[in-house]
Symmetry: C2
């Protein structure tokens, strides 16, 4: 995709996240997008784990990686939805950024390493400063994990 990712619209001060910050060279640099130009209710991201992202046994991803991807995709989705609701371009000021209040993950089956994973998100509720996001992680047509997040918007300065 050649479009700008949600995370690439974050202001510089919010760009240090290990999971998705463009200014963190050590990190995963997850990039989240709207599913397409017509569907601005669903979000998508792709990530291919490195060989060392293994879980206890080789060939499966470790649980913390799955949680990291869902977490970063979830807060990015919340921010994108909040801008969309206000009819504003993502990244415009005042900045709308969310942090995770709670995250619940169901690990449905082992998540493979060595192939591209797909993250999907949907903001199911956005009220005042609180967002609820449902999340999923798939490998091909296998649903590997699902998540539910409550995120809270940081107060604008």
């Amino acid at each position: 995709m050649s479009k700008k990712a949600f995370q690439d619209s974050y202001s510089a001060e919010f760009s240090h996240c290990y999971g998705c910050g463009r200014d963190n060279p050590h990190g995963l640099q997850l990039k989240s997008y709207w599913l397409n130009d017509e569907d601005k209710t669903h979000t998508i991201a792709h990530f291919t784990p490195k060989p060392y992202h293994t879980g206890g046994v080789p060939n499966n991803a470790y649980g913390g990686l799955i949680a990291s991807l869902l977490d970063c995709h979830g807060t990015a989705s919340a921010a994108a939805a909040a801008y969309e609701t206000q009819g504003r371009k993502m990244g415009s000021t005042p900045v709308l950024r969310f942090v995770t209040a709670s995250l619940s993950i169901d690990f449905l089956r082992p998540t493979p390493i060595g192939e591209e994973l797909t993250l999907c998100g949907k903001v199911t509720q956005l009220k005042d400063r609180k967002a609820t996001i449902t999340l999923s992680l798939s490998a091909g047509n296998m649903l590997c994990a699902t998540g539910t997040m409550t995120a809270v918007r940081l107060k604008s300065e």
Copy 2:
């Protein structure tokens, strides 16, 4: 602590986890223990985040790190409790290893970087192949996150 960590008792095939595997040089290498020799109901681990484990803003840890630490400490605690229940030395065969079925995390406040974090765990239920574990992560006397995990024991070969 000079004692052997739970994770250092895992068999070689289960020692590749990015979060806690002794055979993963890229990883976090979390080490979990019983709280002390008298208390084999509570478990403890310590971890000091690296500077690059930052969240969106510097000085705070990213959510995925917190999830990773809780996840690995939780499954390690479940395994240790299962061995204890059977009166067997950890790592003895048949191997008792758990994987995460679900993990719910409440992020209570930002988790600081640059100081040692403390993870605590307690297996509150252990029945057949299913374990329930409550978890917490603190920085000094500040409780930063809590978690609840359901873990399932892998079938022995």
